[in-house]
Symmetry: C2
Amino acid sequence: MITNKKLIECVPNFSEGRDKGKIEKIMDSFRGKNGVKLLDYSADESHNRLVVTIVGEMEPVKNAVIEAMGTAASIIDMTKHTGEHPRMGATDVIPFIPVRNVSMTEVIEFSKEVAKEAAERYNIPIFLYEKSATSPERENLATVRKGQFEGMAEKLQQPEWKPDFGSDKVHPTAGVTAIGARMPLVAFNVNLSTNNKEIAAQIAKNIRHLNGGLRFCKAIAIDLSDKGIAQVSMNMTDYTKTALYRAYELIKIEARRFGIHPIGSEIVGTIPMEALIDTAVYYLGVENFTMNQILETRLME
Amino acid sequence: MITNKKLIECVPNFSEGRDKGKIEKIMDSFRGKNGVKLLDYSADESHNRLVVTIVGEMEPVKNAVIEAMGTAASIIDMTKHTGEHPRMGATDVIPFIPVRNVSMTEVIEFSKEVAKEAAERYNIPIFLYEKSATSPERENLATVRKGQFEGMAEKLQQPEWKPDFGSDKVHPTAGVTAIGARMPLVAFNVNLSTNNKEIAAQIAKNIRHLNGGLRFCKAIAIDLSDKGIAQVSMNMTDYTKTALYRAYELIKIEARRFGIHPIGSEIVGTIPMEALIDTAVYYLGVENFTMNQILETRLME
């Protein structure tokens, strides 16, 4: 009834958040395309950046993104670009995310096809990052982008920073692009019964991967002074391996030693159904549950 | 990308569970029809009954069901039908369930259209039941079907049992059919840390609507002697008003007085995504969550 096609999500970031005309020209590549659904887009003036979220079938998504890269390369001049957000290219970064009937391995392969085709067509140097990375130091986007557009000319001369595809020379106006496959991010924040940010910071430190906590959990402390509370703000980078309920229960446990507890939480943006189904199944102790029992899963077959 | 159409579920029950040829003739109405998706069907020999589950758009579902009613009326002879399950017609009962972009009011209206059209075309007496019922005593299917096929001739002569549509006389071979709109049922069973069925029965009694418990919860005790445990077996008749977690937590509370606790649960068959999302949102204390944050909801827009 709905679709048994392979669906992927794509969240391309472009270095233009101010010029409405240019923003619309880029958006044209994502509107009214068969097999491509535009979920969301937002242009930020201070970041001077456009973030687009689309979902669709692999070929149509590939064509739309490559077309948009061409438009961005032709209308954005990075030598004149200013903005708070770190950036290295007119099309700065393109993550691809598996959504339905497609494996991470397939999406990694797909991301490399897109990178190869885009590099050849526009002569833009492209780095593969995240799960598509060809070496450990290229996994983290921040590391790849270090030096930003202005520093790329020199960076690309270093043998360890030879681009994965395209020219060894920075594109004079379009710069450099990072392309890769990753899992969907879930932004999950837990509010604490305290306004003490130090306590929130200690809890964040104890539960996050960086300091010995959960493998696919990034966490920082946030001061919600307007609400008079402190918050543990998390990015769950693979909810299929680090479940939301595990992070939540761990925060509860860590909070005890401070005589506090979670008083609520928030999920920012979209979240895959399975991340919350998994949590419900845990708390209700449901045995032998499969996603095929979800009516909507059957509808999407 | 997927559908913004109005989707309903339909679970027609036919009084033929033995004759493969006749079963296939009935199933033909549900196969390869545009806008109709066959989710499941099962024929039970001892019940001598065929239960079909389809989802689809309203018009195609209406056409498929009315066509199947005609086939059933032409090949099933209720004067020769035997089986354990109570029944009153060749097409015994047809529940319609709202699935997407459709209100219960619309589905009730729709069920009456189907009943009217089927009654006129096949001259079969039809009772509206559940949310489509035209009087309180017609809400419960068991009450409507009381007397079964053999007792319908006499029952229909009673003024209070005048059919809502069609002839006042039982169809000689196809009998009588009940048609109505209802919420999706969720079959949710909770296993207890005891093999004492009496305790399970007491807990079931305390939580179910019948005895003063939760409004949309039916519950009985089951003896799972093979597993050496007792179970509270529930039918949640409106998960949007009586949440699964509420029934589960109430069982926990009632279990305490017996010094026992839930050791697991099971969900039988399909369940709407929202019933479990709602439960996860409760346990994680997520504030201001909307179903539009679920990626799959966006895909189905």
